[in-house]
């Protein structure tokens, strides 16, 4: 184990090294002595590896494998497992404070909170905090959309709040694409609303805000892009023409959607 520790902490991408550790754990589990507290070592070693290489696929997987095995062998209700899961959740928060776009850590965090049975509301609260810390945190916007989607149909009251959140972001940082991409998804969800009045009201209010941002930020392409999907046929063409001139790299796109 000392040899593999050296290998995986110096060169964490070597999957074979992690595999030897997994084999040793499985073999060791047959004797009661070695089976006691086998997980601490695996969590310690993978943490060293992740400190050096926070984006190492095999290190993250080793950690997930370790925690999964704890759950499988000891049960989710075991005190040790719950304490470990809580510690892991705290570790994820620390790592996401250091790099809020690390998608490996976001994925691992999803696994941990799912194992803990954390509520949807609590998770939405976490994404809100991460978004408010940094409006450019696309990973958090993504996570928020995934939670809302998994919860089922996004209703008009929820949509209203989400439109507000996106607007707050692009009033502050109009050039940041994260909130605008989320906004495009909100428009699609608004169009899917079943009650026509609610749908029309949501679209009309989104359009009004985009027109306002476009006036405040005449050189910014994002409010125009949103308007292109909301305006009537004639205004839409004008908007796409303006987009072609301020964002010539994507003129092919603007022509195709016209």
């Amino acid at each position: 184990m000392a040899m593999t520790e050296k290998l995986v902490t110096t060169c964490p991408e070597v999957t074979t090294g992690w595999n030897r550790r997994k084999e040793a754990v499985e073999l060791g589990a047959e004797t009661a002595e070695a089976a006691r507290d086998w997980w601490s070592e695996e969590l310690r070693v993978s943490e060293i590896a992740l400190r050096n290489a926070p984006k190492s696929y095999p290190s993250w997987y080793h950690r997930k494998w370790t925690v999964s095995r704890m759950i499988r062998t000891m049960g989710r209700e075991s005190e040790t497992v719950r304490m470990t899961l809580e510690r892991e959740r705290a570790l994820c928060s620390r790592l996401l404070d250091a790099d809020d776009r690390n998608f490996h850590c976001w994925a691992y965090r999803r696994f941990i909170v799912q194992s803990l049975g954390v509520t949807t509301e609590e998770e939405l609260e976490y994404t809100l905090k991460k978004i408010e810390d940094n409006f450019s945190n696309y990973s958090a916007w993504h996570q928020r959309s995934a939670i809302l989607d998994a919860r089922g149909d996004v209703d008009s009251a929820t949509l209203k709040g989400e439109f507000e959140l996106a607007s707050n972001a692009f009033y502050t940082e109009p050039e940041d694409q994260s909130a605008w991409m989320y906004h495009r998804w909100l428009i699609a969800r608004a169009r899917a609303l079943k009650i026509p009045d609610e749908r029309d009201a949501a679209i009309a209010s989104a359009l009004e805000i985009c027109r306002e941002v476009a006036e405040l930020e005449p050189g910014c392409k994002w409010p125009l892009l949103a308007r292109a999907s909301l305006e009537d046929e004639k205004s839409r063409r004008d908007v796409l023409d303006r987009l072609s001139s301020i964002d010539p790299a994507r003129v092919g796109y603007y022509r195709d959607v016209a």
Binding site: T15, T16, W106, A107, P248
Partner: protein, 335 residues
């Protein structure tokens, strides 16, 4: 103006074909360097990148003579494990990732007869799980990259029938996100590299109808940043490798004209080491075989005249290799 015409303009840097071939040849010789030791676990992928790069430049035989070619193939042979899988290097455990690299290398050298097809097919099909996903090896890591690797390798071997393709594609669909992109697992954030593997797998599985082409095409087009290069996720730095991951996906969707191809080509060419050869992630960084291949492959998709062998956006192999294998080429719209 199309990118192909732009390549003739005096303002466009030249692709340093000779230097890049020399760079790949040197990389395949330098067994005693530290870099070589640190990358031993993915040697098979490294060989695929290097061999495919010189192949697309029309220099396969000039870069690797008969003896060198045999040396490479024997090395690949020796990475084979008992269960039919291939490890990234000799003595490394087998994995879906490197099993595809091995098949690709044999395909490039027209040496598919060295493969024990039944053993490889047996390994790959045993990696599919009941929900349609693929694990990378028996330790259970699941990732849509592995679905692509398995489907691509099986298609190259003419044995897609060995797995449940519909279920595999449905699993990929369950990894689709609000932005039209795909993640490594359900709920995983979209990433351009992951998008390539998911779009590629769906193309191989005949289920591109799962893709929202307008939404995903737009998200991919927004990967282009001011300097012309492409990034892998919003608000990230550009990197030459995304020239391939993004452009190949756009190519499958028939939408490469949704970005400024000439600006991208210029960015890639600026990342060349014009003296010693090789392409790096960003201008003035250290080149490596990975970025060299993906830079050249990106230029291939844009019709660069010096990349004489057109490349297929789904299999990441030269079209002539696929034709030789009797594989129907991916329909790629007007892009």
């Amino acid at each position: 103006m199309s990118a192909a015409k732009e390549f003739e303009l005096p303002s466009m840097p030249t692709l340093c074909v000779d230097e890049h071939c020399a760079f790949v040849a040197r990389a395949s010789e330098s067994a005693d360097t530290l870099e070589h030791a640190l990358t031993e676990h993915l040697r098979l992928s490294g060989i695929y990148w290097g061999v495919c790069a010189v192949y697309t430049l029309g220099r396969l035989d000039r870069t690797f003579d008969r003896a060198k070619k045999e040396e490479i193939l024997s090395y690949v042979d020796s990475c084979r494990n008992e269960n039919g899988s291939y490890g990234g290097g000799v003595g490394h455990d087998g994995h879906v990732l490197y099993t595809l690299s091995a098949v690709q290398i044999y395909a490039l050298f027209d040496e598919l007869s060295r493969i024990d097809v039944e053993a490889v097919v047996g390994f790959l099909s045993s990696m599919q799980l009941s929900n349609g996903s693929f694990q990378g090896d028996h330790w259970g890591e699941i990732d849509t990259r592995f679905t692509y690797c398995a489907l691509s390798a099986l298609r190259l071997l003419g044995r897609l029938d060995a797995v449940d393709v519909d279920k595999a594609c449905a699993y990929i669909n369950s990894c689709k996100n609000f932005d039209g992109g795909f993640g490594a697992e359900p709920g995983g954030e979209s990433h351009a590299g992951q998008v390539f593997t998911c779009v590629g797998a769906l193309a191989i599985g005949g289920r591109l109808d799962y893709v929202d082409g307008d939404l995903l095409g737009w998200w991919l087009a927004e990967r282009q940043v001011k300097v012309g290069g492409l990034n892998g996720r919003p608000e990230k730095l550009p990197d030459v490798c995304y020239s391939w991951w993004v452009l190949s996906s756009l190519s499958v969707l028939g939408k490469t004209h949704w970005i400024d191809r000439a600006a991208l080509a210029r960015f890639i060419l600026k990342c060349q080491d014009e003296k010693s050869g090789g392409i790096s992630d960003r201008p003035d960084d250290e080149p490596d075989v990975y970025h060299t291949f993906f830079g050249i492959a990106g230029l291939a998709l844009m019709g660069h005249p010096a990349v004489v062998e057109p490349i297929d956006p789904v299999f990441a192999l030269p079209k002539s290799v696929l034709r030789r294998m009797g594989i129907e080429l991916s329909g790629t719209g007007k892009g």
